[in-house]
């Protein structure tokens, strides 16, 4: 066994002795990864881990170095960036990744990435020019 491996095992014993707790926290993280586009609150995340809210926040932070709320924001913003780079309009992206307000999404995006969402992709289609499918019956009206 290498020196490094000994250190890893020793740290694991000291810092993460409870494998069951790790499994619960991982389960909650997966829940966030799968449901970031919906409105998910702390109650739902803690329920997924079968832990009380306070115990869940403490445990999540201990395992991932950030609170579940911060992690959720990171996942949402990463996905938002990916969608914006594909040219999807800001408003659509905002709601697709689980934010409920465009101004607060724009503010958070800029604070995190250093630039507003509209600058993420030069090819982004401005909201006003989004092609809207016109129902056939309207097209027939002279």
């Amino acid at each position: 066994m290498t020196y490094y491996q000994q250190q890893v095992l020793s740290l694991k014993k000291a810092v993460y002795p409870n494998d069951d707790l790790a499994v619960r926290v991982i389960q909650a993280k997966r829940y966030i990864d799968d449901h970031y586009g919906s409105v998910i609150d702390l109650d739902a995340m803690a329920r997924e881990a079968c832990l009380s809210k306070f115990h869940f926040i403490r445990s999540f932070r201990k395992h991932y170095g950030r609170t579940p709320h911060t992690y959720l924001k990171e996942v949402r913003l990463a996905e938002a960036k990916r969608l914006l780079q594909k040219g999807i309009p800001i408003r659509h992206v905002c709601f697709a990744v689980g934010f409920e307000s465009v101004p607060s999404f724009t503010r958070l995006y800029k604070a995190t990435t250093g630039k507003p969402p509209r600058k993420t992709s030069k090819k982004a289609i401005p909201d006003k020019k989004v092609p809207v499918a016109i129902p056939t019956f309207i097209k027939k009206i002279p």
Partner: protein, 127 residues
Amino acid sequence: MKIKLTSLFVKDQDKALEFYTAILGFIKKTEIPMGEHKWLTVVSKEEQDGVELVLEPMAFPPAGVYQKALFEAGIPATAFHVDNVEEEYQRLLKQGVVFSMKPTSMGAVKLAVFDDTCGNNIQMVQV
């Protein structure tokens, strides 16, 4: 200021390029001849505009002493993220890669450490 590069000292740049592309699956991004050595970088296939890994020639003897000490202690020179450590471990084993640490859970992460054949231990991490 942005982080665009990270580097690893390698004993042989050609051998390193072969290992990092053919075995690990990275893609060569830049190769510029520079006398005896070259400026050589690879990137992840999944993030080709991401951070470049510089495969730097071991041309400074004290760095070799440091690299050897790290290697003998089993300490990773750097770490790469993977989706599934166990699957990558099995894939690399079949390619003849030697591991000094098999997949090991530590809290919410899983780790494994292998020899890059160029003087370094590399850690795979699944978060």
